[in-house]
Amino acid sequence: MRTVSNPDSLLILVPAFNEEGAVGAVVREIRRVLPEVPVLVVDDCSLDGTPMVAREAGAEVMTLPHHLGLGGAVQAGYKLAFELGYQYVIRVDGDGQHDPACLPRILEALRTSGCEMVIGSRFLGGRAYPTGLVRGLGIRFFRLVLRPILGQRVEDPTSGFVGVARPALEVFSRSFPLEYPEIEALVVLQRKAFRFREIPCRFRPRLAGRSTITTLKSFYYILHVLLGVFVNVLKYEGRRRRRGP
């Protein structure tokens, strides 16, 4: 992977922690859909064979020296992508929940909408995606909380299937929430007067492993994210709205 100057350059970012059962299939699927696009797996100091499996599947692998958590891993990828000059980065989780078939549509939306962030939503397009009771309630709760803050409705605020354009990449490479980053990242963007949109995407069950967010952790998640949202809202930022490209 080298410095790029192409104004349409895209990097697929796959954060992974102990995902040796899924990450290989995820990388191969991405490469089938977008064969020319580099795939960077950010290995969050996995204890299993995640980096080896990812390399064998054709990804570039960046291994963190110790476990930083999802936000730290994603931000490391954003920093590298920004330094290498990439214009667009799309994050695909290493557990196989995000369908790579949606990648071209996310890229197209990034290129044509003028938005700095495009979110792949599991709830748009008439799809009913099964979530746990607490998680489902949490998503509804955050839709209500975020509506007045963002000034627009967001259907899937916890989706990690997210594409960002270079201006957002620059912001995130400097400042990115470390735990449960998805919702706080939306508020960070709003504070910079950036825009986002959602497009319908298919989500699937995990290919392997289990989610780290248990029922008990869901309550902690809600409290933690709520605090993070209000801290970001209280931070003073210049409120000048950027002009679209």
Binding site: M62, T63, P65, A76, K79, E83
Partner: protein, 120 residues
Amino acid sequence: MTGLLNFFTGLSLALLILVLISVRRAHIRVEYSVAWLGAALALLVLSRYHWLLERLAAVLGTADAPLALMLVTGCLFLLVLFRVSMVVSELKDANIALAQRVAILEFHLRTLDEKAPTSG
């Protein structure tokens, strides 16, 4: 009351000695020992000068001087703990930034190694 104040004197002296030994052995950096030394000295002064403690109790609106000393002790330790939380947060941020930078540099090094022609 005297027994309790003597206990606080002993506690503050023990804290002072512990912190000074820790600084001498480089277990605590000097800049982070200041808050603990300040707290220990404040406790020592208040537990030895009864008139000062009684004035403080009057200001706090209680006739019970040991209670005032306990309140001051609690507040001092809360302040020190808050300071420690700030330092830990700063260290965590620095640690994350360093870990990310190491990972990025290692990634570049591996890329260079793969590109370099093999000799021998």
